[in-house]
Symmetry: C2
């Protein structure tokens, strides 16, 4: 059954692979499932046809036969549940890997995403510098805890899992901030993920969209 | 096998049931599983014994035999996977209910949680009113989309599910703001959940902790 995902026609990150379709592309590459990407303009994302697929008018979505799905975490989980390679077989280890998926999106991502948002929306406000410091303190608190838990391990809990995949897509938003480098084991963890062949294929696929758009 | 969760010894919300243990208590009540609650001081939450259970030093955690779990979304999912009542049997409907779990925590919760945080941390800042307006605009965008999708339905997708449970715990944080009342179908949706016997039992259980603490 053909899998079709949606992605930005022109990603605001300029090809750094920070848009949320990257999570889904990477997960599909890890489990060896081919897919098509349907590209959307910002205008099309708010039109009824897309809102029927995604109630909040965002990307990515996922279509496979009569299943239509939204929310990147849920799509990655669906892929991980259907195909081997992203969740351990042992029941308790599987449950813990799922806990890391939720931790990435609900505990670690919010202050990191807020920082990106503030950098765009609040840059000219009088409170910008102070707000950035508050956000960076929250981020460091999360990174410190995450770094302590990871320690010398390669992955968050046993083998590489969908929990690592989501966590790394969150941490990558900090690249260029200098914050990740304060935690050498986290920098190495992100680099370890980026070196995976599936990651590279997904990264190249999202970059190819931008290259095609700019030469088209 | 005994289930033990952790919760605040003294919840900062004064018994409104907004702390994240409420999600887990409610899920356990929906599926009819008894549990013990171990209460933690803010100091104990940051000590090694608790950090071994929860890398970010928060509540709730979940212990059952040799499984130790953190992150409220993951705990609710674990309960929903093991016991009937919180996820549909049909594979596609189940996947969509899981999408709503992620949507509640990763798309709807962040601006709502930020508003609560700003009300505590930024109340005395000169930019407070302006920042609150920005956050409330983001929240209204999400509520508008959610209200459109819910329409006249009782629940987000077919029968009541763990997706509704998490969404309502997120929306309840807006009570008292007046924002929920701008979307009558969302107010009615929250009230419909609060009327569930399992919700009431969970609410009473978290309130009893505070009552005991204040008379103790």
């Amino acid at each position: 059954m053909t899998i079709t995902i949606t992605a930005f026609e022109r990603s605001p990150d300029g090809g750094k692979g920070l848009a949320r379709d990257m999570r889904v592309r990477w997960a599909l590459e890890e489990v060896g499932q081919p897919y098509d990407a349907r590209l959307l303009s910002f205008k099309a994302m708010k039109e009824p046809a897309h809102l029927a697929l995604h109630p909040f008018g965002q990307i990515p979505t996922y279509e496979e036969g009569d299943l239509a799905l939204f929310e990147s975490g849920a799509i990655v989980f669906h892929i991980a549940e259907r195909h081997a390679g992203l969740l351990p077989d042992d029941a308790n280890a599987r449950t813990r890997a799922i806990a890391w998926m939720f931790a990435a999106l609900n505990t670690v991502e919010p202050p990191i995403f807020d920082r990106d948002l503030a950098k765009v929306l609040e840059r000219d406000e009088p409170w910008y510098e102070q707000r950035l410091r508050v956000l960076e303190d929250s981020i460091r608190k999360r990174l410190g805890d995450l770094s302590s838990r990871l320690g010398d391990a390669d992955w968050l809990d046993g083998a590489f899992s969908a929990g690592d995949l989501l966590m790394v897509t969150v941490l990558r938003r900090l690249q260029g901030s200098g914050m990740l480098e304060e935690y050498p084991n986290l920098s190495a963890y992100v680099a370890r993920c980026e070196a995976r062949p599936a990651y590279k294929r997904a990264f190249d696929a999202q970059l190819a969209v931008l290259t095609a758009a700019s030469t088209g």
